[in-house]
């Protein structure tokens, strides 16, 4: 297995120090674009729908209101047909430097969601932007236990949303690569 670059995973190493037992991870990537461009790709739901998820995933539902207390909702469909739904709330917006949100993440698909705090930092140097994602699991909420019962109806709703999107015109959201 290839060792991930620029990645720090806290949990799971031999717990030789308290620091090595922290949960969550930090992921750092460089993108050769100004941070305003990167900011837009992450906070504009039409652009988010194009790249969110692993290879082959499409996002028939991708909603994001990038303001404090704004809602986020993405239903991502994998090539095998499984759905990975997330819902969340925006916590902090400091455009184009910092974007903080909490997601209820049902991962792997089908499990009771966890609340995970996501902090994205954008640092630009000479036209290249370093993006740092810090993901910190919080804990299961009572609401997330109720959520599991409604997971399947949610997918029916996704299809309706997809139909709405397609009817609305050839926006970027429907260009998500297969």
């Amino acid at each position: 297995m290839v060792e991930p670059r620029n990645t720090e995973i806290h949990a799971g190493r031999r717990p030789s120090s308290p620091e090595s037992l922290k949960t969550g991870f930090v992921l750092t990537r460089e993108f050769r674009v100004p941070r305003q461009v990167l900011w837009s790709a992450l906070t504009d739901p039409r652009k988010l729908a194009i790249w969110w998820g692993p290879r082959g995933a499409t996002n028939p539902v991708c909603e994001l209101d990038p303001r404090v207390h704004g809602a986020l909702r993405i239903h991502s469909q994998n090539p095998d047909g499984s759905i990975f739904p997330v819902t969340g709330t925006v916590r902090e917006v400091d455009a184009p430097r910092k974007f903080v949100f909490v997601l209820s993440v049902a991962f792997p698909p089908g499990v009771v969601p966890f609340e995970v705090l996501h902090t994205l930092r954008f640092d630009e140097h000479g036209g290249t932007t370093t993006l740092t994602l810090e993901a910190q699991p919080l804990q299961t909420t009572p609401a997330s236990l109720e959520w599991i019962a409604g997971a399947d109806p949610g997918w029916g709703e996704s299809l309706e949303r997809l139909a709405e999107l397609v009817q609305a015109g050839p926006g970027e959201a429907v260009r998500a690569r297969a």
Binding site: R14, S17, G24, W51, P137, Q139, R177
Partner: protein, 125 residues
């Protein structure tokens, strides 16, 4: 897998996350990584009462992160590796989700850039 089984598994994962959120409990686990220890030994590095340490140990025990031997009179605590492996597994899967997303984000940004260049060349002005 039934919803009830999933719920139990996730409750366990959730209680592991909660247990690991506290720095004192992380320090206790790190100490136990080098071998069994009694409550008194575990309390030594902290300016905390034995009842306070015992409370942390109960949380760790509830999350399945430690086990206490019943046969010995001093009931030593030892580390249980399974919940830590579960957490590591979850974390690696979710990290990979973002890593692959960022691959696609990079590809998308390059595509937009090359389209913009192409558009620039074919512009009339």
């Amino acid at each position: 897998m039934s919803a009830a089984t999933l719920r139990t598994e996730n409750d366990r994962l959730s209680s592991t996350f909660s247990a690991l959120a506290d720095p004192t409990r992380r320090a206790i686990l790190a100490r136990l990584a080098s071998g069994e220890a009694s409550v008194t030994e575990l309390a030594e590095p902290f300016e905390m009462s034995l009842p306070a340490i015992s409370k942390h140990l109960r949380v760790l025990e509830g999350a399945g992160l430690i086990a206490r031997r019943k046969e010995a009179q001093w009931r030593p605590c030892r580390l249980e590796a399974r919940p830590l492996k579960d957490i590591a597994h979850w974390t690696e899967n979710y990290r990979q989700f973002w890593d692959e997303s960022f691959d696609r984000l990079d590809a998308y940004l390059r595509e937009v850039e090359s389209e913009a260049k192409h558009h620039g060349r074919t512009k009339k002005h």
